[in-house]
Amino acid sequence: MMIGDWLDIGSVDQITPGTARTLPVVGADEIAVFRTQKNEFYALVNKCPHKQGPLSQGIVHDNVVTCPLHNWNISLKTGEALGEDKGCVPTVPMRVDAGRMYLLRSAVVGSRAA
């Protein structure tokens, strides 16, 4: 790991398992950081591939979030819509180390909307 590749976004305690929090990015799309019931961490652009619903506000079950606007199920691992629905939201590589959360800096920048 090269220091500087990863953005420290704070301590894991800030997210209750089974919920998400948001991270506005200056010059790019807001990111939703999820913590599942089983303490897996995921970061995705906070926009549903359907009609840009804020995924951070959905119900999390297993590692899927149900979009609060029209109930699409989005995989937290791949960002892909599950079931019949088609679409994909960019994911941001994330790691957790010694109780801190890190996002891959290049991906955070890359999440900038086209």
Partner: protein, 831 residues
């Protein structure tokens, strides 16, 4: 110092041995030496430094020592004779304080200097101490070595209370030991699930219940604020939420940190642990490291199994037959007698991963295996861990399990026998008197008899002979019998609550009461949910059913609520929220209007609109601004209008007898009273009320869930109206002569609906389904029913009529409204 070996050899008759110095007389250090000796006993002159004043022992067995199941002598791995027989110099009780790489020496605390050709760092880890006030008080101990155990035993001798901070493996084993030694134990765990790294919510819940049954107090979601002291000794632990627990001893077991201090000071490459390659060599080729202190391919380990593999690779390399270490998959068992728990691999699910869940509530068993690409990738077992090693083996080998998939969850015996590959065949082979349903004592013969007598669906069998009507664990067997007896004629019964269960809404509601189920994971376990933590359909439904069943006792599960109910506002298509304060019965006044106008201006709300429910809706508020908006509205005396909830929405009124020339009763006044009585309640779906002052019905009472039409002689009460997608006019329920009676019937009707309807079923479809007569019977057949139902409603309301906005405005769940941080990725790191 570092003279070439060839020079020295000239002066000696025997070949010169390399000097191997080991720092750390623990599990990895000594095992590494054992492995080296096994390969080449003559290769090294070995000196081991140990900070602890004792020989090498099995650290993991400290738990049984604490619990009184073993003595120290039983857990010694290598006694003094081992060091002597192998010519090893043990320097115990004298920690190394520095490594000098230039001169290839180590310096111990006593001043002793020891030269090395090869150095092995095996310093293990240090317990992590949370930095709270009081952490240095006497009586605060960690759980790492024998001295810690001795301190705990000394404290336990006088009885009293212990608080263990940390509900992971170590903390729970400490709690178990102290509890067996007679202390009153409280475990404080930061996370909602015990051992959350190894367990899922379901297994964590079972574990918690069992420990509580054994008399321990388990506090999950408990964040320690400080350790309270008295005369320099601990006296208790205080949590951030204000709760306090008395303690004569506090055990900190919140985690460990690789002990890297020496390595870092010596300039070796250190990240989280001492960085080593696949041969356990550090950034200095003369120095190796092994055990919990290392970081290999980015991973640090806190269990012994990986250490054994590391030691093997290390010895191979040190003896010039390098093999390499590739990292480990780990599994965990909890060493608490009577609790069987096993976890391995990755059980986080995910794409392409499929969960196979088996629950046996009667035996307290929960098993979950996770399969991906036809391979087993994870397993959690609670209550029956007999197959743990088998699963772990399948997992490590990455074997293709497609052939045994169907039987995988039943364990090795079944899977290898192949007996269950066709479950119907197995059931067909059962004798007629074989028991199918253990809960209700129903035999196979009885089930077949029931089916032959006309019960053609699972539901019909359940309601006729009760087989699988209680815990549902025999559902599969009953389904097989249906298939065997009827072939293709099996009828599907009423819809199940969702795909996670074979039970219908009604069954689930009934069983929650019958079996006294009090939490979502408990319902899922007892009713054999087929998924580990439900889905977005069943979680909100169960949350409501439990809330309705146990008013005041059930703790609402925020993460099972739809966003609107979690944020107490309506989400809009652009992700902002709308805010609708209550205007009782549609009445308002200058103060309220001014407050709304101020909010609209202050927060730049792009729109404010009169709703179809006789009140004002402020649009376009950001989630961060919600608490401040609410605080402003609260200050003007306004509370949440629940325009977002499966709850009482509005009570529409008309002007009534006070002003209207046709008005027969005070419809506005009654509307306000009804709203005051019913606001805040949670319901299966949204619920709307209206009161019209005369049959002209200007408040549209006949398309509401509960409508009142005032007439000269009293009040006509209407139910089951709906103005939405499918318009339905109300049915007349009854006529009463006083306001009080109208209020009582309203409360009773709502309660009947709350207790009986399915989640997300409004009163109109509910009444269409069960029939108006059923509703009337429920209310009026017994003259006391209205009072009893109304009393239950009013009781549950005592817990619901706190304004949820006020709590948020005061700071509760602030995290729901705040961003984690803001990033400027193109600039420097954020704070």
């Amino acid at each position: 110092m570092n003279a070439p070996a060839s020079l020295m050899e000239k002066d000696r008759t025997t070949p010169v041995k390399e000097r191997l110095v080991v720092i750390g007389n623990g599990m990895a250090g000594c095992r590494a030496v054992e492995e080296v000796l096994a390969r080449d006993p003559a290769r090294f002159d070995v000196t081991i430094f140990g900070a602890e004043p004792r020989v090498n022992y099995n650290r993991i067995m400290l738990s049984p020592v604490l619990a009184g199941e073993k003595a120290f002598d039983d857990i010694v791995i290598n006694g003094e004779d081992w060091y002597a027989d192998n010519g090893i110099t043990l320097v115990s009780g004298d920690p190394v304080v520095a490594i000098d790489r230039a001169t290839q020496t180590v310096v111990a605390k006593s001043g002793r200097v020891e030269p090395y050709d090869r150095l092995l760092i095996a310093t293990g880890s240090d317990p992590f101490i949370i930095p709270v006030p009081g952490k240095d008080l006497a009586g605060v101990v960690t759980f790492r070595d024998l001295d810690d155990v001795d301190k705990m035993l000394a404290a336990a001798e006088t009885g009293g209370s212990a608080v263990v901070i940390g509900g992971g493996l170590l903390g729970l084993e400490a709690a178990h030991g102290l509890s067996l030694r007679g202390m009153k134990v409280t475990v404080v765990h930061l996370m909602p699930t015990l051992m959350e790294r190894q367990l899922d919510e379901a297994a964590g819940y079972l574990l918690k219940s069992e420990l509580e049954r054994r008399g321990q107090t388990i506090v999950t979601g408990g964040d320690t604020a400080e350790i309270i002291g008295k005369d320099g000794h601990v006296a208790g632990v205080k949590l951030k939420d204000g709760r306090e627990f008395a303690a004569d001893i506090v055990v900190m077991a919140v985690g460990i940190r690789p002990a890297t201090g020496l390595a870092k000071a010596a300039g070796l490459e250190v990240e989280r642990g001492i960085v080593v390659d696949d041969h356990m060599v550090t950034s200095d080729p003369a120095i190796m490291a092994v055990g919990e202190c290392v970081q290999h391919r980015g991973a640090c380990y806190g269990l012994v199994a990986p250490l054994w593999e590391m030691c093997r690779a290390l010895a191979d390399a040190a003896c010039e037959q390098p093999s390499g270490y590739e990292g480990s998959v780990t599994s965990t068992k909890l060493k608490v007698s009577g609790i069987d728990l096993f976890s391995a691999g990755d059980f986080s699910g995910g794409d392409g991963a499929e969960d196979i869940v088996m629950r046996d509530a009667a035996r307290g068993v929960y098993k979950r295996v996770v399969v991906k690409d036809n391979k087993l990738v994870g397993a959690v077992l609670y209550g029956d861990t007999a197959d743990g090693n088998w699963y772990f083996d399948l997992l490590k080998k990455g074997e293709d399990i497609s052939d045994i998939r169907e039987a995988l969850i039943f364990g090795q015996a079944f899977a290898s026998g192949g007996a269950l590959l066709d479950p119907n065949a197995a059931v067909a082979a059962l004798s007629n008197d074989a028991e199918i349903c253990g809960c209700n004592g129903v035999s196979k013969g009885k089930v077949i008899e029931t089916i032959n007598a006309g019960a053609c669906s699972l539901d019909a069998v359940r309601s006729t002979c009760k087989a699988s009507a209680s815990c549902g664990s025999c559902t599969g067997l009953v389904e097989s019998l249906l298939a065997l007896t009827l072939g293709g004629e099996v009828q599907s019964g009423p819809k199940t609550l969702c795909k996670c269960t074979s039970f219908s809404h009604d069954d689930v509601r009934r069983l929650i009461l019958e079996k006294n189920l009090r939490a979502i994971p408990q319902v899922m376990q007892e009713l054999h949910w087929t998924t580990p933590d439900g889905c977005s359909s069943c979680r909100p439904a169960l949350n409501y059913y439990l809330l309705c069943a146990w008013p005041g006792e059930y703790e609402d599960d925020q993460k099972s609520r739809f966003v609107n109910e979690r944020l107490h506002a309506n989400i809009q298509k652009d992700g902002t929220y709308s805010v609708v304060p209550r205007m009782w019965g549609g009445l308002t006044n200058p103060r309220e209007l001014r407050a709304i106008a101020d909010v609209v201006e202050k927060y730049n709300a792009p729109m404010v609109k009169v709703t179809g429910g006789q009140r004002l809706d402020i649009f376009g508020i950001k989630k961060e601004d919600l608490p401040a908006v609410w605080a402003d509205l609260n200050a003007a005396g306004m509370v949440s209008g629940h325009a977002y909830g499966k709850s009482l929405r509005t009570v529409k009124t008309c002007v009534g007898s006070e002003w209207c020339r046709f008005g027969t009763q005070d419809s506005t006044g009654l509307g306000v009273k009804l709203e005051r009585m019913t606001w805040g309640s949670w319901m299966p779906h949204k619920f709307k009320i209206a009161v019209s002052g005369c049959p002209r019905n200007c408040a549209e009472a006949t398309i509401k869930d509960f409508g009142v039409v005032c007439v000269d002689s009293g009040y006509e009460l209407h139910v089951g109206g709906n103005g939405g997608i499918k318009v339905r006019a109300t049915d007349v329920l009854c006529k009463v002569s006083t306001e009080q009676e109208a209020m009582d019937v309203c409360a009773a009707f709502i309660q009947l609906y709350r207790e009986q309807a399915h989640y997300l079923e409004r009163t109109a479809p509910w009444i269409e389904r069960v029939g108006l007569d059923h509703v009337k019977a429920g209310l009026f057949d017994d003259p006391d029913s209205v009072n009893r139902l109304a009393a239950r409603f009013r009781y549950s309301q005592t817990f619901c009529q706190d304004d949820p906005w006020a709590e948020r405005a005061a700071g509760k769940h602030a995290e729901l409204h705040q961003h984690l941080a803001e990033v400027r990725p193109l600039q420097v790191e954020i704070a």
